[in-house]
């Protein structure tokens, strides 16, 4: 079969492109960030290995216009097109699928991704997609499904592979039941980097201090914790799958020795902890990969890594450690099911900094319950952590209900959603009723990003130079130039609705 794994370029009215960011969130940016979709890259590799013709068709990273992308797809004549959905681009996709089907009527369009997997009926009703894959393990499902379709012309009628919504002839939809929640990740092939044009993603990414950088195959699929209410890796249908430490180490070795990669980031919801984390770090050291001038980055949680493990990670040359801080009040953390207590934050950050890593805080504002006091507390604590050198970088987002996560469903149940138009869910403005005016949250965003320009923060970065670590020099002289550009963009994006009068319902009396 001829299978295209496709990402059409999506451009908004401001000329910004829809970029996939951390945890598969989509935001619109003018400055590009190209992230390799690792599970889909594994799927492409697997299908190719199975003997299918595969097109790695990322219109964004390949700098195509929508028209160009569509024409190229038409010329390639795929038997199947695979698309990845998330809430803010759903309406775009429904229309795009119609266009694909109008020029390629016999092509099977498969929708995947966290929005469609939670709302398969909606996708089937609102679009002419042929099927929805409800599993996040698209590599495993496509490996089984494409083979099945190749050998069974009546697949719509006969296919019983689990986790699918299939369009029968006519309007009837057939479900094959829930998907396999756990898959043996060691069986999915490591990504064929050349095939997925890894260099397209190796430079334009704010997470890389050195380039070329790349994303590793995620060692954890979905999330080991998986309880945070706003996160798409949460829900009764999800648990987690894990790749073996040795296999991940083999991949790192290949990336460093054969591709010359200088920074590797693993975007697993949370990376290994405990025994596996130590085994991995020790493995990097034992293989001498810590001496190859390549930095490593991960997502983790507060209260997951102890000092001994962090020390070993430091020795292994880990640098970028991304932590979901979210807010500085326990009520919010409890409502979000964050599963950590704030008194442990400082020690974790201290250890990371002590052993040479650059902790990156992710913060959200605009929860539908967030009061001025809670917001002020968050801004003040974030300032303290940044100015005192506990954390090195941060990102602030507007908490946006997405992909029918528990938080999204809670917003619907509580009646606080201000819009049902999926185009509004692009994280550029608040779309929930809040106890204080939206402008207060935009102001907080501006204030937190403004820390980067605070003389105390800059002085702190200069003091880090005394450690004599190359990464601190790079941080100040290379990264900061890029960071300023990106910080400006973030401030523009997240505050451009400031001063625009929110609908009356946005302020609850």
């Amino acid at each position: 079969m001829r299978v295209a794994i496709s990402y059409p370029p999506i451009v908004n009215d401001l000329g910004q492109k829809a970029m996939v960011s951390q945890n598969r969130n989509v935001q619109y940016f003018k400055e590009p960030t190209y992230l390799l979709p690792v599970t889909y890259a594994q799927a492409a590799t697997w299908l190719k290995r199975d003997g299918h013709d595969v097109l790695w068709d990322d219109g964004n990273a390949q700098l195509k216009t929508y028209k160009q992308w569509l024409e190229d797809l038409q010329n390639w004549k795929p038997d199947m097109v695979v698309l990845e959905s998330t809430t803010p681009v759903m309406k775009f996709y429904w229309k795009a699928i119609e266009e694909i089907k109008s020029i390629l009527p016999s092509t099977i369009v498969a929708m995947t991704g966290y929005h469609s997997m939670r709302m398969p009926e909606e996708t089937m009703q609102e679009s002419v997609a042929d099927l929805v894959i409800r599993s996040s393990n698209v590599d495993f499902v496509l490996h089984r499904l494409v083979d099945y379709i190749s050998n069974n012309p009546a697949w719509r009628l006969t296919c019983s592979l689990e986790g699918l919504h299939l369009r029968m002839r006519g309007k009837e939809i057939r479900s094959t039941g829930n998907f396999r929640q756990v898959e043996p990740l060691d069986k999915s092939p490591l990504i064929d980097r050349e095939f997925v044009r890894w260099r397209d993603y190796a430079f334009e990414n704010g997470n890389f201090l050195q380039t070329p950088g790349t994303y590793a195959t995620s060692v954890i699929r979905d999330c080991m914790f998986g309880k945070c209410t706003f996160c798409r890796y949460n829900g009764p249908e999800l648990t987690f799958s894990m790749m073996s430490v040795q296999r991940s180490l083999d991949e790192y070795e290949d990336l460093i020795n054969n591709h010359g990669v200088k920074e590797i980031f693993d975007d697993s919801g949370v990376w290994y902890r405990g025994k596996e984390a130590r085994e991995f770090a020790q493995g990097i050291i034992d293989r001498g990969l810590n001496k190859k001038d390549c930095y490593f980055g991960i997502n983790t949680r507060f209260e997951y890594l102890d000092e001994e493990t962090i020390m070993l990670m430091g020795e292994a040359n880990f640098r970028f450690v991304l932590l979901g801080y979210e807010a500085a009040d326990n009520e919010t953390l409890q409502r979000l099911n964050k599963g950590y207590q704030l008194q442990h934050v400082e020690n974790c950050l201290k250890w990371l900094t002590k052993y040479g890593m650059h902790p990156h805080l992710t913060i959200m504002v605009g929860y539908y319950w967030q009061t001025q006091e809670q917001l002020d507390k968050t801004v003040s604590e974030v300032k303290r952590l940044m100015l005192y050198g506990f954390a090195r970088t941060l990102q602030v987002t507007l908490c946006t209900p997405l992909d029918y996560t528990p938080y999204h469903q809670e917003c619907i149940k509580e009646g606080v959603l201000l819009t049902n138009n999926y185009d509004d869910f692009d994280m550029s403005k608040l779309i929930v009723k809040t106890p204080i005016p939206h402008d207060q949250y935009y102001k907080a965003v501006r204030e937190m990003y403004g820390i980067a320009f605070n003389p105390l923060f800059i002085l702190r970065q200069l003091r880090f130079l005394l450690n004599g670590r190359k990464r601190d020099w790079q941080f100040l002289f290379t990264y900061s130039i890029r960071a300023i550009r990106r910080v400006r963009q973030h401030i523009f994006n997240l505050t451009r609705h400031e001063g625009i009068k929110a609908s009356k319902s946005s302020i609850v009396s």
């Binding site: 689990e162 829930n178 003040s380």
Partner: protein
């Protein structure tokens, strides 16, 4: 920029009892937080001194005036080995409850098969304590027969151990049991514990014609 004293807000609870079930496995009983809890949920149990926590599924009746966790002290594991050494009156931090590995009210009268390995039995023990009239069968995959924790708590004939290192030379895994004994087609199957056990069991269940809507999994490790 005054530092907030979060220690004042710390949620700590006293240990009430520790029962050592085997050399490595113990039941930790702590005071119950004043929150609504569903059977099958988990808590993050943490230790102030080392600033880390781990998730543990509740072992006790959801309505009990205490919380119990069945924990295996993992070699090299910081939290589990620390918890093993606690004494009554010591404090632990608790966050939670979390999770949806529960029995929905509309399904309470179904026929259940609970398949767990090692301490993956914990949520199922909580289920049968919380819902005494449940129609269930438990398959418990264990390495040695001494890991059949609190076997007397289960109704006769409803708890089957599959011992992989039996001293009589006979060994059985839960996968062997499933291959030899087809489950009733209308069963709701919950799996909990080791991920490889879950992967293998699910494959067997699909091969036997079970539908994914009947299978709910929770990986421990």
């Amino acid at each position: 920029m005054n530092k907030i004293d979060y220690n004042q807000q710390m949620q700590t609870f006293p240990v009430l009892e520790i029962k050592h079930k085997t050399q490595n496995t113990f039941c930790l009983r702590v005071a119950r937080p004043n929150v609504s809890i569903s059977s099958g949920q988990c808590f993050n149990v943490g230790i102030s001194g080392i600033d880390i926590n781990r998730e543990y599924s509740m072992y006790s009746d959801a309505a009990a005036p205490y919380l119990e966790f069945l924990i295996r002290a993992v070699e090299g594991g910081l939290v589990s080995t620390y918890l093993q050494k606690l004494k009554p009156g010591d404090l632990v931090e608790l966050d939670g409850p979390y999770g949806e590995f529960c029995i929905p009210p509309g399904r309470i009268n179904s026929k259940f098969v609970f398949i767990g390995s090692g301490t993956g039995i914990a949520p199922f023990h909580s289920f049968i304590k919380t819902y005494p009239t449940l129609n269930y069968l438990i398959l418990h995959g264990i390495r040695n027969s001494d890991e059949a924790y609190d076997a007397d708590d289960y109704q006769q004939g409803r708890y089957i151990t599959c011992v992989s290192q039996n001293i009589n030379g006979q060994s059985m895994r839960v996968t062997d049991y499933l291959r030899e004994n087809h489950l009733s087609k209308d069963s709701i199957i919950y799996l909990c514990g080791n991920r490889n056990m879950i992967i293998d069991c699910v494959q067997i269940l699909f091969d036997q014609g079970m539908n994914g809507d009947q299978i709910i999994s929770e990986v421990f490790f």
